[in-house]
Symmetry: C2
DNA sequence: AACGAAATCCAAAGCGGTTTGGATGGCCGA
DNA sequence: TCGGCCATCCAAACCGCTTTGGATTTCGTT
């Protein structure tokens, strides 16, 4: 070859100061030799780490679940399409701040994604101080205009779902929500309450729960409520997984979902829990969390490419899809009781 | 301060050639200034990337599911405890090889984990050629002794589970397996068949399925089989998620799981699908995939620390846990039919 | 009191790229 | 024929750390 390091670098990186012929030769050689620039060296020289960080606390919370993975899968595709790496840090809850500080001071990533913002979120303040670009998956209450985020309209989705149940004649509607110190769950609850208020109804605390969205959570609470006096005729559930539990609970009580008791769940469109077919099993509000991951990544990469741009955000509406799990409220005399 | 770069580096990295007093001063200063060595520079200088790669194909396969995430969570903890980063690459199926090549040639990671080995696995050959340390989660048939791996005893687990069902009097046992071109599913099937053979029974192809382990997969096949002639009295299922589907299907047929029809499932101990309590919902073979992740990471880090060490492996046995979903085979006259 | 070993610390040379500021040569118009 | 302008290519500086090989100081010994 007998070419300088400069020329090789320029040829490989597509700079114009190199002839087409030379570029071809370089590419050919690199291919034959299996050469690719050492990424550490390149990162050091350019000052960009070409990586996006995701720090996830170790605790077994809602996030550490398939929804999170699906988001990651979406984001990961976008990253690799743009030549970025994805860096995951699984840390002790107490060291979450440290993790961000390390990413910033050691320049481990060019930006991060904030997962699962809480009602009293503070991570964004730290990240601003650290001057680390970030995008929020969800929204930070009170900081909507000064941060970049992507979120679905949780309030509206649950308002619409509740209205559907009300239209079907249900008035005793139970809400099995996620942890309400998380922003998304908080909004869903507001949507639920707003819809009830719109019909002059007030929510019954006995029919509202907030916890990690496991399967048994759905089952146990469904059974408890259905066996209580004045049981609900419908359930509004925050996750497919819990909804499956609710369905099981309904079955345990000798009732039939979609007939004796209605269910509407939120469906994150998880790959291993398909809820489709001609008539999906569950009536649901659906929003692909994988798509959210893709978009969040795009947003973040754009921010990194143009640091002076204003914060951007994407607000998506969930679809309301009718499935087999909803029906009109049964007339009292037909209403089976355990 | 007025200390040389050399001294600072040594102080921070715990080398002995620096006095305790100086080390203290350096640490203090670093803390006050929020200084931490740039990781790219360090990686370049040391030649070690201090990262472990996980490449996951984009396709929606069994891996891209909560089980994978749980493994990741376990491994991630171990990594961060040892100062390693975790690098995830989500790539197009066709580019999986490229991804490994890049990791090796650009020195993006010091080692990788192979997920979901197939019956005709080849990735390990490439990695050997690339001289990239790796650990297999699962086993590569025919390469057990020359690779490092961690696996549960799939064959034995399903053999024991099948024997339990046989002991309860079941002879019509259905197997809803994962994709059998994957090693783990292949082994589970062998366990199932071995147990049957041990009692002089031969498996009925009409009662065996192999597919992605979704919820509907469980439900649809359970319904189809139960409505067929000569239906099974028990199901052996490869995943909790599908098992939930099976339970739903059984309910749809007007039968009761654990009474009319038995279910044993494999339980990966996923956080959002707890199957415990005094008497777990499902009788299961259980093995924590999160623990597997921790151990795999430890194995790999050890390999990296001592490249000359022989391949090591960890073979774990699953627990067989009795839950509510199994019972003796119902006598023919009591056997409800849809 | 002189000497060698041990304890500390430092200057400078990598690590493997990117980028800056020129050098070189071919081709054009005057 | 010659100066000027591109089009190409190159030498060297730099990115921020680790590590090598020495220099300097301290201290126990004889």
């Amino acid at each position: 070859m007998n070419l300088s390091q400069t020329t090789v670098s320029r040829a490989l990186n597509g700079y114009p100061e190199v002839s087409a012929e030379t570029r071809r030769r370089v590419a050919e050689m690199a291919d034959k030799l299996g050469y690719a620039p050492n990424s550490q060296a390149r990162r050091l020289a350019t000052g960009r780490s070409m990586a996006i960080g995701h720090v996830i606390p170790r605790s077994i919370h809602e996030m550490m679940n398939p929804i999170f993975l699906e988001f990651i899968a979406g984001a990961g595709e976008t990253y690799s399409r743009h030549g970025y790496d994805m860096m995951l840090s699984v840390v002790d809850d107490a060291h979450e701040e440290d993790a961000y500080r390390q990413i910033a001071s050691r320049k481990k990533a060019d930006g991060v994604i904030i997962h699962g913002p809480a009602n009293d979120e503070r991570r964004h303040l730290l990240l601003k101080k650290l001057n680390l670009p970030f995008v929020v998956h969800g929204r930070i209450p009170g900081a909507e205009s000064e941060t970049s985020w992507i979120d679905m309209n949780n309030r509206r989705a649950f308002e619409r779902a509740t209205n559907l149940l009300l239209d079907l004649g249900h008035t005793r509607i139970a809400l099995l929500n996620g942890l309400e110190h998380m922003d998304f769950a908080h909004r869903r609850r507001r949507g639920f309450e707003d819809a009830l208020a719109g019909r002059g109804l007030s929510p019954d605390p006995a029919l509202m729960r907030s916890a990690d969205m496991t399967e048994p959570y759905g089952c146990e609470n469904a059974v408890a409520m259905l066996k209580g006096d004045d049981p609900p005729t419908a359930f509004l559930v925050s996750s497919m997984i819990s909804a499956i539990g609710v369905a099981r609970g309904i079955g345990q009580c000798g009732l039939k979902a979609g007939k004796d008791v209605s269910i509407i769940t939120h469906d994150d469109a998880l790959s291993f829990l398909p809820n489709c077919g001609e008539v999906p099993i569950f009536t649901c509000t659906r929003s692909s969390v994988r798509y959210a991951g893709e978009k969040a990544a795009e947003l973040l990469l754009a921010m990194i490419a143009d640091p002076d741009a204003k914060p951007a955000s994407l607000h998506m509406d969930a679809e309301l899809i009718i499935g087999q799990s909803t029906g009109p409220v049964p007339s009292p005399q037909n209403q089976a009781r355990p």
